[in-house]
């Protein structure tokens, strides 16, 4: 209770400074949030592209449908596979005519081979998994050729990995900035109470007791900063949608909660580093 009382007293002592602190934390988390929003939207776009990853195993001309259908059932049993569909020569022709309407009269009966079209489950659309399934499908006697756009998938994944690494690096940088800002503001609070802290130590207060109100204060500021940052990110997204006519995705609720908790955690870490340093300067 006394730790909360100390927090209350500190907050009342310098309300403007504390408001500025929360706002600064909010802005640094807002930058983090904006980047997160971009990352989430890139990820959503990539997922849509990924859904189009497909393996096509073409049958040798004149192969009966029965062995192709049997093979498709077998492929359907692979753990990575979401669907394996048999496309007969006629269906392939119809599809080509539909997709390439203006050239429809060019295609003749028997021009396109039958195939098994395979779609993979989410999480198995990386180049290695796609190639592994394609290689296994090559093993069927009737298969003449397997195509899956190897280069395209590799490029897609490279893009995804770059986005992930950039996201982690920038995320950590912004988190670092938030920790430094919170640490610096808590340091001001520590300086304001330096005399009190030195007396506490002299009369036998433990480090834990001395640290507690500062950690609570950091947590509270981080929590408020986190909530403010989420609100600012939400309004930024709505503005982008409104003025730039983008269809955007916002964070899922669990990520919103996680974001606010991350703000609180950054607050605790920043305070802990700051007050820990202060206490370490004396035995």
């Amino acid at each position: 209770m006394s730790a909360w009382r100390d927090v209350g007293r500190d907050l009342r002592r310098a309300p403007v400074l504390n408001m500025l602190t929360v706002t600064t934390i909010a802005f640094s988390l807002f930058a983090f949030g904006l980047f997160g929003l971009v990352a989430v939207n890139i990820r959503a776009a990539l997922l849509k592209v990924e859904e189009r990853v497909e393996i096509r195993a073409f049958a040798t001309e004149g192969t009966d449908v029965a062995p192709i259908a049997a093979a498709a059932r077998q492929v359907q049993g692979y753990p990575e596979v979401m669907s394996a569909t048999v496309v007969t020569e006629q269906q392939a022709l119809a599809r080509a005519r539909q997709e390439l309407g203006e050239f429809s009269d060019v295609f003749e009966e028997g021009f396109l081979p039958a195939s098994i079209d395979v779609r993979l489950k989410e999480g198995h659309r990386d180049p290695a998994s796609v190639k592994a399934v394609a290689t296994r499908m090559h093993g069927f006697d009737f298969v003449d050729d397997v195509r899956f756009g190897e280069e395209w998938i590799t490029q897609l994944y490279r893009l995804r990995n770059i986005a992930f690494v950039a996201g982690v690096a920038l995320g950590l940088s912004f988190a670092g900035v938030a920790v430094i800002i919170i640490g610096a503001t808590i340091r001001m609070a520590i300086m304001a109470r330096a005399r009190e802290i030195s007396i506490m130590r002299l009369v036998g207060a433990t480090d834990g007791y001395i640290k507690r109100p500062f950690l609570l204060e950091g947590m509270l500021k981080g929590l408020l900063g986190g909530m403010l940052a989420i609100a600012m990110t939400y309004f930024a997204m709505k503005s982008i949608e409104h003025y730039l006519h983008f269809e955007t995705v916002f964070f899922e609720r669990r990520f919103v909660i996680l974001g606010v908790l991350a703000g609180a955690l950054l607050g605790v870490v920043g305070s802990s580093l700051s007050v820990g340093r202060h206490l370490r300067q004396a035995i």
């Binding site: 009190e196 030195s198 002299l202 009369v203 433990t206």
Partner: protein
């Protein structure tokens, strides 16, 4: 109770503050530490409440050794010590009563026990009537009494006083010294650093004189020798 064994203390910037000092202070003793500025008096006191650790040698206070003490051990040891300074170190925005109760609150004393203990300590130093005064409303001597009340409120076995009369006039000095004598008479050991030789001569307490980080005189050793 306090045992310094071959203690040397060196600071990176100012050099050697204590050089191979061995000193023992027993239960209930009253010891003056005297000597010129920079002789090492305050360093011995800081080592006694483990604010500083020796560069070499060992300091042992009430069984807590500088060689092995954790930060928690130091905190627990200080609950059994009372420490007063020349500059009083009171919280300016708290009353005398609150300054004393602060020492109990921060070590987790049950709330119900605090008012009685505080009242007793303030009575002991003769300031019961000024419990609600802020430090700036008190004289120097009275402020030092509040600091002593804060040091006494936990019933320490040892009171460490670093120039407690350094900022006081002669009358207040005599008052504070008398108070320290009474505290000692009640069983608490007192180690007091002072420049005031008149005060030292006015009593027959043990005197340890330091110069350039070494003990150059110890009345206890002299007494034993004679």
């Amino acid at each position: 109770m306090i045992r310094l064994t071959h203690v040397t203390k060196t600071y990176a910037r100012s050099g050697t503050a204590l050089s191979d000092v061995t000193l023992r202070v027993g239960k209930g003793e009253f010891v003056f530490l005297t000597g010129p500025s920079g002789a090492g008096k305050s360093t011995i006191l800081k080592l006694s409440y483990l604010e500083e650790m020796p560069t070499s040698g060992e300091v042992k206070v009430s069984g807590v050794s500088s060689a092995t003490a954790s930060r928690n051990d130091v905190a627990k040891l200080r609950r059994k010590l009372g420490i007063v300074f020349q500059d009083f170190r009171l919280l300016e925005n708290r009353t005398a009563e609150q300054n004393v109760s602060f020492a109990l609150e921060v070590i987790g004393t049950p709330k119900a026990n605090i008012p009685n203990k505080v009242a007793r300590a303030l009575t002991q130093v003769g300031l019961a009537s000024k419990a609600n005064a802020l430090p700036r409303e008190l004289s120097g001597g009275e402020q030092q009494r509040v600091a002593i009340a804060r040091a006494l409120v936990n019933d320490p076995f040892l009171l460490i006083a670093d120039e407690p009369t350094g900022n006081l006039d002669e009358r207040a000095t005599r008052g504070i010294f008398q108070l320290l004598r009474e505290i000692n008479a009640a069983g608490t050991a007192v180690v007091m650093a002072t420049h005031n030789l008149e005060l030292v001569r006015s009593s027959d307490f043990r005197t340890v004189e330091l110069d350039h980080g070494k003990i150059v005189f110890d009345s206890a050793a002299e007494g034993a020798a004679s």
